[in-house]
C-alpha cells in the first residue's frame, strides 16, 4: 500500500483526497491524520518506491520549484552552481570526475533546457521536467548525482553530522552503506544532507510531513531551512517544498488554488485570516474619515488595557510579546530596513494572533512574515504624517519606550498604538472564538514571561496608571514553574 513498485518514477499530480481514501480502512490514527491532510495540502504527487523515492522526490521538487520561480537567470545560476560543485565531488568526495561527469551532465542539461523554456513556454518546461524524470537513465543519473553531492557534503562536514550516523558506522561507513549504494533508501540523515547541500543554500525550505502512527489527529511536520546562528530563518519568504513521509517512503505534497503564501497560513489556521482582515479594516477606517478626530473609540480600544472585550490575561500575554518583538527588530534590521520598520508592530500583532492559538500549530516563521505584507500597506497609507513617528516607537530600545510613550504629545497620537494591540482586541464588537477563550485560559501561566519594562509600564493592568487597573493577585499555582507550552517542532 505504501510503496508502489509499478508505474512511473514520478507520477501525475493528484488530489490529496486520494491518500485519505487509501487509508480509509486503516488504523484510526491514520484515518484521522489522512482525513486532515487535504485541508493543508490540496495535491500530491506519488513517487515510485524503488529505493530512490526520497532522493527523487527532493530532486524533482528542486527543479519544479525553480520552474515555479519563472526566472531564467535563477536557473542559470543553478547551472553554474551545479557545475562548480563538481569540485566538491572530486576534492572532498574523492570521486573521479570521469565516473560522474555523465550523471552531472543530466542535471546540467536539464537545467539548461529548462532555462531555454521557462520564459517562452512554462508548460513545455514542466512537461520536459516530468519526461526527463520518468526516463530511467536520466532520472537515475540525476538521483545519483544528488547522492554524490550528499556524500561529499558529509565527508566535508563530518562534525555537524557525526552524531547522527547510526550504528557507529563512521562517516565513511555511512557513505558507503547508506548513501552511495544505488537503490538504498534515503534515511533521515541522508535527507538532511541533501537539503543542506541542494536546497538550503538557495533559500528553499523543505517541510516534511510525517504520516506515521504517532499520537495526534494531524500529521507532524518539520521545516528545514537556512537559519542564522540564532535559529532565525535567513530567507523566510523563500519557496517551500513539501514532502510527505510515510515509513520508508516519500511523495511530494502541494498547496494550491490559493496564492501560495497566504494559503500557507490559512491552511494552518483560518482564524489568522479573520484576524488579519479585522486588523486591516481597523486601519482602513481612518482613510475614509480623513483624520483622527473620529477614531478615538476604535483605536482607544486597541490599546492594551482599553480593550474591554478581552480578559486581562489576554493583554498580559500579548503585550510582552509586543515588547519583545521590537527589540529583535531593532537589532536585526539593517540601517536601510529600519526605515520601513513601522511594519513591525503590525507584524508583531499578527504574530501574536497566530501564537495565541491553542498550541497545536507552532507559529512558523516563514508564514508569519508572509502575512505581514497585507498589513504593511494599511498603516502606511492610513497615517501618512504620523508614520514618520512610528520608527521612533519601534526602534527605540525598550528601556526608553515607557517614558516616551507617556509623553503626552506622543500619546495623543493614539492611532499608532492601535497597532500595538492584538487584532483580537481591536474592536469591542469582535468576539473571540471559543478556541481563543480556551487559549486565554491557558495564558495565565505565561504572564511569568513579562518583561520588567512591561511590568512597570502603564500597559500593565497591574500598574496604577492603567485605566483598567487591577491589583495583582497572588495565586499559589502561579508559583509553580510553567510547563513548556509549546514544543518547537
Amino acid at each position: 500500500m505504501l510503496k508502489s513498485r509499478q508505474g512511473p518514477l514520478v507520477g501525475e499530480k493528484k488530489s490529496s483526497r486520494a491518500i485519505t481514501e487509501e487509508y480509509a480502512k486503516a488504523d484510526p490514527i491514520y484515518v484521522a491524520k489522512t482525513a486532515a491532510l487535504p485541508q493543508k495540502f490540496s495535491h500530491y504527487r506519488p513517487i515510485l518506491g524503488d529505493g530512490n523515492c526520497g532522493w527523487r522526490a527532493a530532486g524533482f521538487s528542486y527543479f519544479e520549484t525553480l520552474l515555479r520561480l519563472q526566472n531564467g537567470a535563477r536557473l542559470e545560476e543553478e547551472l553554474a552552481r551545479m557545475t562548480s560543485l563538481n569540485n566538491l565531488l572530486t576534492t572532498v568526495g574523492g570521486f573521479e570526475e570521469w565516473l560522474f561527469e555523465d550523471m552531472v551532465a543530466e542535471t546540467t542539461n536539464l537545467l539548461r533546457d529548462l532555462t531555454d523554456l521557462v520564459q517562452s513556454s512554462p508548460q513545455a518546461a514542466e512537461e520536459l521536467l516530468r519526461h526527463r524524470f520518468n526516463t530511467h537513465e536520466v532520472s537515475d543519473s540525476i538521483v545519483y548525482h544528488l547522492r554524490l553531492l550528499a556524500s561529499s557534503w558529509l565527508k566535508g562536514n563530518p562534525a555537524s553530522y557525526q552524531g547522527f550516523i547510526p550504528d557507529g558506522l563512521g562517516v565513511d561507513g555511512y557513505r558507503k552503506d547508506w548513501i552511495e549504494p544505488v537503490n538504498q533508501e534515503i534515511d533521515h540523515l541522508g535527507m538532511t544532507l541533501l537539503i543542506d547541500i541542494l536546497l538550503k543554500p538557495i533559500g528553499f525550505a523543505v517541510e516534511i510531513v510525517y504520516l506515521d502512527r504517532s499520537e495526534g489527529s494531524q500529521a507532524n511536520s518539520h521545516i528545514f531551512q537556512q537559519e542564522d546562528s540564532n535559529g532565525v530563518p535567513t530567507n523566510p519568504n523563500g519557496p517551500t517544498i513539501h514532502l510527505l513521509y510515510r515509513p520508508s517512503h516519500y511523495d511530494i505534497l502541494y498547496k494550491e488554488q490559493v496564492p501560495m503564501q497566504i494559503m500557507d497560513q490559512l491552511a494552518r489556521n483560518p482564524q489568522v485570516n479573520r484576524a488579519l482582515t479585522r486588523q486591516i479594516s481597523v486601519h482602513e477606517t481612518p482613510v475614509s474619515m480623513g483624520g483622527y478626530s473620529q477614531l478615538d473609540m476604535t483605536t482607544l480600544l486597541c490599546i492594551p488595557g482599553f480593550g474591554l472585550s478581552s480578559p486581562p490575561q489576554h493583554h498580559g500575554f500579548h503585550s510582552p510579546q509586543y515588547q519583545q518583538q521590537p527589540i529583535e527588530q531593532a537589532f536585526n534590521s539593517s540601517p536601510i530596513s529600519a526605515s520601513i520598520s513601522p511594519i513591525s508592530p503590525g507584524a508583531s500583532s499578527t504574530t501574536t494572533s497566530s501564537g495565541a492559538l491553542p498550541g497545536t500549530f507552532p507559529a512558523q516563521p516563514p508564514s508569519q512574515s508572509s502575512l505581514t505584507s497585507p498589513t504593511i500597506a494599511a498603516p502606511h497609507s492610513a497615517f501618512p504624517p504620523p508614520a514618520t513617528q512610528l520608527p521612533i516607537h519601534t526602534n527605540f530600545p525598550p528601556q526608553a519606550r515607557p517614558s516616551l510613550v507617556s509623553n503626552p504629545s506622543i500619546t495623543s497620537h493614539l492611532p499608532h498604538t492601535s497597532e500595538l494591540s492584538s487584532p483580537s482586541s481591536a474592536t469591542s464588537s469582535f468576539r473571540p472564538s471559543k478556541y481563543e477563550w480556551e487559549a486565554a485560559a491557558d495564558w495565565q501561566e505565561p504572564v511569568v514571561f513579562q518583561t520588567s519594562t512591561f511590568k512597570n509600564s502603564h500597559y500593565n493592568t497591574a500598574h496604577y496608571n492603567n485605566p483598567n487597573f487591577q491589583p495583582e493577585e497572588w495565586t499559589p499555582e502561579s508559583e509553580e514553574p510553567p510547563a513548556p507550552r509549546k514544543r518547537s517542532s
Binding site: F95, E96, W98, L99, F100, D102, M103, E106, H136, E137, D140, S141, Y144, L148, K176, D177, E180, P181, V182, N183, Q184
Partner: protein
C-alpha cells in the same frame, strides 16, 4: 546511451593501464557490454601459475546496476561455484552494495584479491569453504591441483 559512454571510458582506462596479470578483450568488437578477461592466478595463492578466463557482462543500465562476472575456467574457491557457471560471490558486485561510483578497475582488483584471500563466511561453495577453514594445507593442495587441471 550514457551506459555505453561510461563503459567506453572504463574500457579505455583498463586497456591503457591494465592491472598486472589481467588482459581484456571484447567478446564482440561491436558490443562494449561483454568483456573477456584473462586473469593470472596471483602469486602467493594456490592459483598461481594458472590462467583464468572470466566473462564480464555490463548491463544496459550500467552503472546503476552492477556488472556480472563469471569464471569460465573452473576454479576451486569458496566464493565461486565449482561448476560450468562459475558464479562469483563478491561484495562489491552485490546489487544492494553496488555503487555506480565504483568502476570496473576496482572490480578486477577485488577479484584478484578474492583469489588471494577467500571469504569463507560468504561462501557459495561450502565444501571448499569448510576445507579452507578447517584444513588449510589440504585446501591449498586441492586448489592447486584443480588449477593445474583446468587453468592452463
Amino acid at each position: 546511451m550514457s551506459a555505453q559512454k561510461r563503459i567506453s571510458k572504463e574500457l579505455a582506462e583498463v586497456t591503457n593501464s591494465p592491472p598486472e596479470g589481467i588482459k581484456i578483450s571484447l567478446v564482440d568488437e561491436s558490443n562494449v557490454h561483454n568483456w573477456n578477461i584473462t586473469m593470472d592466478g596471483p602469486e602467493g595463492s594456490p592459483y598461481a601459475g594458472g590462467k583464468f578466463q572470466l566473462l564480464l557482462v555490463l548491463p544496459t543500465d550500467y552503472p546503476f546496476k552492477p556488472p556480472k562476472m563469471n569464471f569460465k575456467t573452473r576454479i576451486w574457491h569458496p566464493n565461486v561455484t565449482f561448476d560450468e557457471h562459475g558464479s562469483m560471490c563478491i561484495g562489491i558486485l552485490k546489487p544492494e552494495a553496488w555503487k555506480p561510483s565504483s568502476k570496473i578497475m576496482s572490480v578486477l582488483a577485488a577479484t584478484q584479491n578474492l583469489l588471494v584471500e577467500p571469504v569463507p563466511d560468504d561462501a557459495v561453495e561450502t565444501s571448499a569453504a569448510e576445507m579452507f577453514k578447517n584444513d588449510r594445507p589440504k585446501f591449498n593442495k586441492t586448489a592447486a591441483e584443480y588449477t593445474k587441471k583446468y587453468a592452463k
